[in-house]
């Protein structure tokens, strides 16, 4: 139990920024550039943590609550999410809803800390963020319902248990395929990736997530970046588990399969970002509603 707990946290806390490095590297290779070193996100974090910071005179303590919740929530939520074949350290009936609502806490405080600056740009980013995530929330619930219909049990460990390998071959395989697509879309939306948001855009008006953290600097900014990396890993874990539902039996084997899967996912995100353009803002709600319908269809197939 204690080893699981430690392994889980070590994997998450140490490995998460590497995924960002892999995405950036993939995009650089596509663009024909050498790109930043793979470990650049770690250097950035170390540099930001050493720096001092500046606060706007408008801000209050709420301004710090956003970055804090952004780090605490993925760490706590990861304890309920199995990493590949490694079971989650904590698990109880209904923890899947806790998982979903914990990210709601992070969103609440991130948007509140954006509004705390009194900047209209940050308000705009906050408005977009809450719009997208409230449309993404039903998709997540549909996907969880499909998985709950296949599994027996209502904890994330049960949902992403070893039965998935058989389910892929069975009649539920098609539903699982749809769920995989939907969860990947949610992963891209929630982590502000292309085609829903561009993490590297240079115009405040076009940003969604990045504009909300314009005023953060130094250690708070480090927490924001680290939190984003953690969130990508925690939300990527279910996608990887659906893709690679194998259980090798040994702890080292399971860990390696999971890490390889996460790297693969990062490369995949890099490929998507390199080959797609950003969607127009008004198209995004339509895509999200469409994805909900897709997930609803997967549910119908399971309920039938």
């Amino acid at each position: 139990m204690a080893t699981h707990f430690l392994l889980h946290l070590v994997l998450l806390l140490c490995f998460a920024p590497l995924l960002q490095g892999v995405i950036v590297k993939t995009k650089a290779l596509f663009a024909g550039r050498a790109g930043a070193p793979l470990l650049q996100p770690y250097y950035d974090l170390a540099r930001l943590l050493r720096k001092d910071c500046v606060f706007s005179r408008t801000t209050t303590w709420v301004f710090l609550a956003g970055p804090v919740a952004g780090v605490v929530v993925p760490v706590l939520a990861s304890l309920f999410m199995p990493f590949g074949a490694l079971p989650a350290p904590l698990s109880f009936t209904g923890d899947l809803l806790l998982f979903v609502y914990l990210f709601g806490v992070a969103r609440f405080f991130t948007v509140a800390s954006a509004l705390d600056t009194g900047s209209s740009f940050e308000g705009m980013g906050g408005a977009r963020e809450v719009t997208f995530s409230c449309l993404a929330e039903p998709i997540v619930l549909f996907c969880l319902m499909v998985l709950a219909g296949i599994a027996d049990g209502l904890s994330l460990t049960a949902l992403f248990g070893p039965h998935l390998a058989d389910a892929w071959r069975g009649p539920e395989g098609f539903s699982l395929g749809l769920v995989l697509v939907c969860l990947f879309v949610v992963l891209l939306v929630e982590n502000s990736r292309i085609p829903f948001d561009d993490p590297n855009t240079h115009l405040e008006l076009t940003m969604v997530h990045e504009v909300m953290v314009l005023d953060h600097s130094g250690p708070p900014l480090a927490l924001v970046l680290y939190g984003a990396a953690l969130k990508l890993m925690v939300l990527g874990a279910p996608v990887v588990r659906l893709l690679l539902p194998f259980t090798s039996g040994s702890l080292a084997g399971d860990t390696l399969v999971f890490l390889a899967g996460m790297l693969l996912l990062a490369v995949l995100i890099g490929v998507v970002e390199s080959t797609m353009a950003r969607l127009r803002l008004i198209r995004i709600p339509q895509i999200l509603v469409g994805t909900s319908l897709l997930a609803g269809f997967a549910l119908v197939l399971v309920l039938r």
Binding site: L64, V68, L90, G94, G118, S120, C134, F142, L154
Partner: protein, 656 residues
């Protein structure tokens, strides 16, 4: 029982001594507050004693009204409604000392306190009555007392209109209840409430529909919510807290009591309640999002939360129809806990909103800004309430929504396809939750964060201590249920068994609620981690300079008016719900290369009252007056014709 009755009487009479006190003195209001506090404490003690005893307490005295008897009954189902009532009524009375002092309101303060106590006591009687006539009597007293609270500021046209619409809807609902209880008495042969699960349900279609209409009106289920937004906005804030937190729940209580009488529940009852719940949940929160009046917005959130409660009840009813005891238990436990939770956090929000309105003198969200610096206590209390109403851990809203979600997920493993469809309540709840989060981030951000948008918001005083106390108390109650939900599990189980007696035999009551302490533990983890990391970050950034302006993308002269407003924050999301909201937009067109100053405003009227009922009634009135003008046209020959026709008609009738 005797403690409960004594408490009820004390609360009812709390405003009477004040009538004889001076119009400008403190004495009356302090005595009234003391009497209310003693009354609710005594009533709560009575209820707790009954719960500790195990068996329901009964009281039966003769009453000279034909068919009536003074029959009271305290069981766990009633206790779940009465306990938050005691807390909110007591807290509101204390809050009123600072919010509505007699010296500032010499004209209406005494009347307000008289009806405040009467309303509290009438609700206690509604929740404990065991006889139809007594129930209806208490119901009417409650409706009339609430009317006088809504029209406290009767000199304002808004309050008079709100009071009128409230009175019309309260009595439309009461009319249905009169019919309902007559039919029920025909079925059972007496006006005494039948025991739980003692009636066969099959033929009771009309009874159920009348109950749904009458109780739904009081609870504010969509599309019967028409009185809520205006009445809550017009009443003083501690009266709004009572109306929204507790009065609405008497409708839910009535529906629960009524459905508990029947042994067999047809499946369409559950589906109807479930669908109305989903409708109320989604449209309630969407309408709330489009509002920019703080108290109107909170009132629409009551519609949403009543919807969530109705989803839980619908699932529990389905569980009874399909004989899935676990579904009944989870759905009903979730609904009952949400009744308590909504009573707590909505009162907390109304009281903190009252503190903001009291300080700034306006309810318009777009006039606020930066109040966190000036009202730190109010801001923290409002933030707690906002997190709770969004259903986020570690507060209480999450626990009840979690139970309702679990019930929906249980439906997926049902045997019949039709039951499995009930799982679709879960995505609807998720959408509601997402929209509620967007709405409360908006309210909290626009009100308390940023810079003051108008001079009104640049106030410099926080809530008075007598207002602060009840707010902090309610916040602690919210945190208590969120962090230690296991402590309420036994009460919830007992209440469910009183609602559906067969559940106790069919399923192990503790197993489905067993993860509750773990949910609480996760809440503790979240709270401690947040505080720990927050403390570290605060220390690390202590020396940072705080004298620079917010980054304005190079623009050098930003003003507070350039901040995002409540309307602009919600606009993107509201435009996704265009099909149901029909927001009106005025102005905003820009012409020419050098446009002159323009103005832009949006307004979202109520979808039912302003779009359907009022225009419909107006057209009906116009048509009726047209018809009257044709019939009563003032020509003697026409009247002679009427007389002749009537005679002819009577002759035909007699000859037949």
């Amino acid at each position: 029982m005797i403690w409960f009755v004594a408490g009820m009487l004390m609360t009812a009479l709390s405003g009477v001594p004040g009538l004889f006190a001076s119009r400008h003195g403190h004495g009356g209001e302090r005595l009234a507050c003391l009497l209310v506090l003693a009354g609710v404490a005594s009533a709560a003690a009575g209820v707790v004693a009954v719960l500790a005893g195990g068996a329901p307490a009964l009281l039966n005295q003769p009453w000279s009204v034909p068919g009536g008897e003074l029959a009271l009954r305290l069981d766990p189902l009633a206790a779940i409604f009465i306990l938050p009532l005691c807390l909110v009524v007591g807290g509101g009375a204390l809050y009123g000392l600072g919010y509505w002092p007699q010296r500032d309101h010499p004209g209406n303060g005494r009347r307000f306190r008289l009806f405040y106590g009467l309303l509290g006591a009438a609700m206690m009687l509604v929740l404990s009555a065991d006889n139809s006539l007594l129930f209806l009597f208490a119901w009417e007293v409650m409706a009339v007392a609430a009317f006088f609270l809504v029209t406290t500021e009767q000199e304002r046209a808004e309050a008079r209109r709100a009071g009128f619409i409230y009175l019309v809807s309260a009595h439309a609902g009461a009319l249905a209840l009169f019919a309902l209880f007559v039919l029920l008495a025909q079925e059972t042969g007496s006006m005494h409430f039948p025991a739980a699960a003692s009636l066969a349900g099959g033929s009771a279609t009309l009874i159920f529909l009348l109950g749904l209409f009458g109780f739904g009106f009081k609870a504010g289920l969509m599309p019967l919510h028409i009185w809520l937004p205006i009445a809550h906005a017009a009443a003083p804030s501690h009266a709004s807290a009572l109306l929204s937190g507790i009065v609405l729940k008497t409708g839910i209580y009535g529906l629960l009591r009524l459905t508990s009488f029947f042994a067999v529940i047809p499946a369409w009852w559950g589906w109807t309640v479930l669908l109305l719940g989903v409708l109320s949940g989604i449209f309630g929160v969407a309408l709330a999002l489009a509002q920019h009046d703080l108290k109107r917005l909170l009132a629409y959130h009551s519609v949403e939360n009543i919807g969530i409660i109705a989803i839980g009840i619908g699932l529990a009813l389905l569980g009874r129809s399909y004989d899935v005891a676990e579904l009944t238990l989870l759905g009903m436990a979730g609904a009952l806990l949400h009744v308590v939770n909504h009573g707590l956090f909505k009162s907390l929000l109304f009281l903190s909103a009252g503190s903001v309105v009291h300080a700034t003198g306006t309810r318009e969200l777009d006039h606020y800004g930066g109040l966190l610096r000036r009202q730190p206590w109010t801001a923290v209390c409002f933030l707690g309430g906002a997190v709770a109403i969004c259903g986020l851990p570690p507060f209480n809203g999450f626990v009840s929504e979690w139970l309702i979600y679990l019930a929906a997920f249980r439906a997926i493993s049902g045997d019949e396809l039709s039951l499995r469809l009930a799982v679709l309540a879960a995505p609807a709840l998720a959408l509601t939750g997402g929209l509620a989060l967007a709405c409360f981030v908006k309210v909290f951000g626009v009100t308390f964060l940023g810079e003051p948008r108008t001079p009104a918001a640049a106030v410099n005083h926080d809530a008075a201590p007598s207002m602060r106390g009840p707010m902090v108390g309610l916040l602690l109650a919210c945190a208590w249920i969120g962090l230690l939900p296991g402590t309420l599990a036994p009460l919830l189980q007992q209440a469910v068994v009183h609602w559906a007696p067969t559940t106790g035999a069919a399923v192990n009551l503790t197993a489905p609620l067993a993860p509750l302490p773990l949910v609480g533990a996760a809440g503790w983890g979240l709270l401690l981690l947040l505080l720990g990391l927050g403390w570290w970050l605060q220390r690390r950034t202590r020396k940072a300079p705080r004298n620079v302006a917010t980054w304005g993308c190079g623009y050098l002269a930003p003003t507070p008016r350039m901040q995002y407003t409540a309307s602009s924050f919600a606009d993107f999301l509201v435009s996704q719900f265009r099909f149901g909201l029909w927001t009106e937009r005025h102005g905003g067109k820009v012409h020419g290369l050098f446009p002159v100053a323009g103005e832009f405003s949006t307004h979202t009227p109520d979808a039912v009252l302003d779009r359907v009922l009022l225009p419909g009634s107006r057209r009906l009135a116009k048509w009726s007056s047209w018809l009257r003008a044709r019939v009563q046209n003032g020509l003697i020959p026409t009247y002679l014709l009427y007389v002749a026709l009537t005679l002819l008609f009577l002759l035909v009738m007699v000859a037949r």
